[in-house]
Symmetry: C2
Subunit: 203 residues, 2 copies
DNA sequence: TTTTTTTGTGAATCGCCATTCACTTCTTGG
DNA sequence: CCAAGAAGTGAATGGCGATTCACAAAAAAA
């Protein structure tokens, strides 16, 4: 009597959902939120506009998920580095480098993470993401100070400043109309700035 | 034959224009771009919506002007400090303090300067503003390195990072839903971070 | 004062999308 | 194969707010 989704059906549905997310991510990545209308996402995912609403209650819910999962991924990478080996200075360096490099890959996506305005809900997710990035750096700062690698300093402010510093330095090249060469130099410059800022010994 | 505006008329028109700008600024300052619809600006300036278009060709033109003139003002203040007395370190400190303090006064306006997304045109103006802020810090960095107060370092990146650092540190408290106490501490923390970052001697 | 030009009004238009919905197409269970 | 339920479609709807426009009020010219 009652309808029961076959395994294959379940798969297909799940797959659709993924495809929607992926399409949305890709659109944001290459053109910012503006170019990511429901219609565009739908067609790019090979579905109709209406179908999107079988998977997500609203546009912002969709993009919150896009953002959040991208951030999750990013944070996981950073966490790995933080929990890794080496002195705190080296790990801080690695975090900044890693983040910066990835940001330089997908300009718009990073831009969207960081700066592009959108929905209230999406913005909230973004803010949360920043805070989470901040936490990662906070933990490094605490450890560094503990081990005497860094001088005493305000943890919260320092963490926010680090996030802000590389964020801003990235946004200029990230921002639409500009080439990005000298990537390595840029990243190195940012790293150096951050290390000096926290008072790391090896500059 | 041809119509010629009386002096009083000219005055009144100029005054209207100013009132529109002021209303727009005020609205942005207290509620961000969202709450600054043409209708709102108009009524707050004591005019009809249609009238706005006699003074500005479009909404974005209006807001570009709001933003630009606010930034001009800000830059002028910083320039003054830069051209002032004292060693470079002290002036850098003064710049960061000054900017941060003013940002903390009018949360939303600063937020709008820095982060709130809007029109393409407005964003462009914002980007330009950031670059201009960057210039100010660049000149300080150059001077500081020249005089041996700071170690050699990448000027452009350093300047961008400074702008980014205090910007981010300010945005969190600036962002709508959060109290802001401990203002002095925050500002001091940011200053300290920036000074360490440029390698200033007195920390 | 009458005429002409400019300024001001605010309701109607217009464009833009997200969201909905009546309908079609596919799945499932019999 | 058929009936019932689920998924998918895409044109219509609806809301929002910038922009326009036919008209009214005010100011200058005659």
């Amino acid at each position: 009597m009652s309808y029961k989704r076959s395994f294959l059906m379940e798969e297909r549905l799940a797959d659709n959902r993924q495809r929607i997310l992926k399409a949305a991510r890709a659109l944001v990545a290459e053109g910012g939120f503006n170019s990511a209308s429901i219609a565009a996402v739908a067609s790019s995912a090979g579905l109709s506009a209406g179908a999107i609403y079988r998977y997500f209650p609203s546009k912002s819910a969709l993009f919150v998920e896009v953002l959040t999962s991208a951030i999750d991924h990013e944070i996981a990478i950073l966490q790995d580095i933080v929990q890794g080996e080496g002195d705190v200075t080296a790990r801080l360096r690695a975090c900044v480098e890693s983040f910066a490099n990835r940001a330089l890959e997908g300009p718009y996506l990073a831009y969207a993470f960081i700066a592009e305005p959108a929905d209230e809900d999406v913005d909230e997710a973004r803010l949360l993401g920043r805070i989470r990035f901040g936490e990662v750096f906070k933990s490094l700062l605490v450890e560094g100070i503990d081990k005497g690698e860094f001088p005493a300093q305000s943890i919260d402010i320092g963490a926010a400043c680090i996030v802000g510093a590389f964020t801003e330095a990235l946004i200029r090249p990230i921002t639409p109309r500009s080439k990005r060469d000298a990537r390595a130099e840029l990243v190195e410059g940012i790293v150096a700035f951050c290390l000096r800022a926290v008072g790391a010994k090896v500059s």
